[in-house]
Amino acid sequence: MSFDWKWDFTWEILPRLLAATVNTLIAAGAGYAIAVVLGLVLALAQRTPWKPLTLIVREFVEFIRSTPLVLQIFFVFYVGPQFGIRLSPWTSGMIAIGLHYSAYLSEVYRAGIDAVPRGQWEACRAINLSTRDTYFRVIIPQALPPSIAGMGNYLVGIFKDTPMLSVIGVAELMHAANAIGAENYRFLEPYTLVGLIFLAISLPTAGLVRLFEGWVRRKMGM
């Protein structure tokens, strides 16, 4: 076995990988956007006074968290059509990954909401705020700063999980690296580059999230 790194090959494939990186970022970003919103819906649904809904949502979250993401991706893409839901790989992928991470984010939000002191709820009732205003103007703004660290972890998580979308043919980074490898019978350079690109994006993200958290806290006077 010999270690022969080919620089000319590296430069040749880099533009193609960087182009695929854009797709990866779009996939992660879109999936995350779905997860951020849907996660909040799931968290709030678990707090409604209507018990059946609470129960169903809790079971759903538990189900999502106990089964592999790749299975969920296959399920949406291959089983969906049997129910008349025919989606493109991109759409299926975004839905599956967004749904998956919404379950995790709902737990982050839930912990954040639970951490808001009881006195805040009581102050809202004392000035007669509606339930809606209580959540959106008082409770959620306070639940946000302590949730940011957890949200940041899952942002990196969703980014690192985008390669799984290659299994249904989403043209993201992993998909491109596989294609390059197969075409050229060389895997060392494409896979190494993929690893470096992931590292280069993941590493600073954690630091940026921490800065963002500090900024939000200051902005809110907390």
């Binding site: 002191p117 006195g119 805040q120 009581e122 102050a123 009732r125 004392a126 000035i127 007669n128 705020l129 509606s130 205003d133 103007r137 008082v138 703004p141 306070q142 809110m220 006077g221 907390m222």
Partner: protein, 270 residues
């Protein structure tokens, strides 16, 4: 429970601002308030004293509708608070009825409970804008007037984390007053404060008593303060009013043994 004994509305000639009628509150098997009967007249300042765990906070929380009751009826200004009329009888109130009735009541808490992400002014404006539907300008004018009243106008743009306990409590009083309640509740509003700032909060309450015709129900451990400003003192013991009367009588000449014991115990602690 037979609700026919409870009028749908109190008659005009017997209409206190607050009436607790046979009110029962229990947590599981623990009966915290047992058949409480208490009237508070319009403009009256009533102070509740009593040992820890005697149910003082619970009385206020029921009135603020933070707790449901297990028996009896509470009336505000003659109308049932905890119940509403359906087919000629009183049934437990739904959320809509409670929200409507709750508008008459304001409360200040031991730990202030200001909204930490809002400035003092925003705290005061929140209810008037979101609940009463005032314009921003109207709400601001009203809030600034009240922040002036409590001596906090120069700190109106500060967040609670930048204010001392006494200052936070004064903002909390302004926030409650901004809703123009008919009845104000104060639950040990000075208990969490350093001794040197207690006066700035009690002075605000004194001012309210002197200048405003608010009905007030207060829980405090400051006997001197209670004596000065109350029209009536209620001594609670194990979920019942053991003794009540004008401050001079209750402090100067208590009738019940338990009242005497409690008052001498507090005096020693002072």
């Amino acid at each position: 429970m037979d609700m026919s004994a409870y009028p749908l509305e109190l008659p005009a000639d017997d209409r206190p601002m607050v009436r607790f009628m046979n009110v029962v509150k229990s947590y599981g098997r623990l009966v915290v308030l047992d058949q409480l009967n208490l009237d508070i007249a319009e403009g009256e300042m009533v102070t509740v004293i009593g040992p820890s765990g005697s149910g003082k906070t619970t009385v206020l929380r029921m009135l603020m509708t933070l707790e449901t009751i297990n028996g009896g009826v509470i009336y505000i200004d003659g109308k049932p608070l905890t119940h509403m009329e359906r087919n000629g009888v009183l049934v437990p109130a739904d959320e809509r009825h409670i929200r409507k009735m709750r508008a008459s009541i304001g409360m200040c808490f031991q730990h202030f409970n200001l909204f930490p992400h809002m400035t003092a002014l925003q705290n005061c404006m929140e209810g008037p804008v979101q609940v009463l539907g005032l314009s921003k300008a109207e709400a601001r004018a009203r809030s600034e007037e009240l922040l002036t009243l409590v001596g906090m106008i120069d700190k109106k743009d500060q967040h609670p984390s930048r204010l001392s306990g006494g200052q936070q409590q004064r903002v909390a009083i302004a926030r409650a007053l901004a809703m123009r309640p008919k009845v104000m509740l104060f639950d040990e509003v000075t208990s969490a404060l350093d001794p040197e700032v207690i006066g700035e909060v009690t002075n605000v309450i004194r001012k309210l008593v002197a200048e405003h015709n608010l009905t007030m129900l207060m829980v405090t451990h400051q006997m001197g303060f209670a004596r000065d400003i109350s029209d009536r003192i209620c001594f609670f013991y194990r979920g019942k009013i053991e003794e009540q009367g004008p401050p001079a009588a209750l402090f100067g000449n208590p009738q019940k043994e338990r009242t005497k014991q409690f008052l001498s115990a507090v005096k020693e602690a002072d």
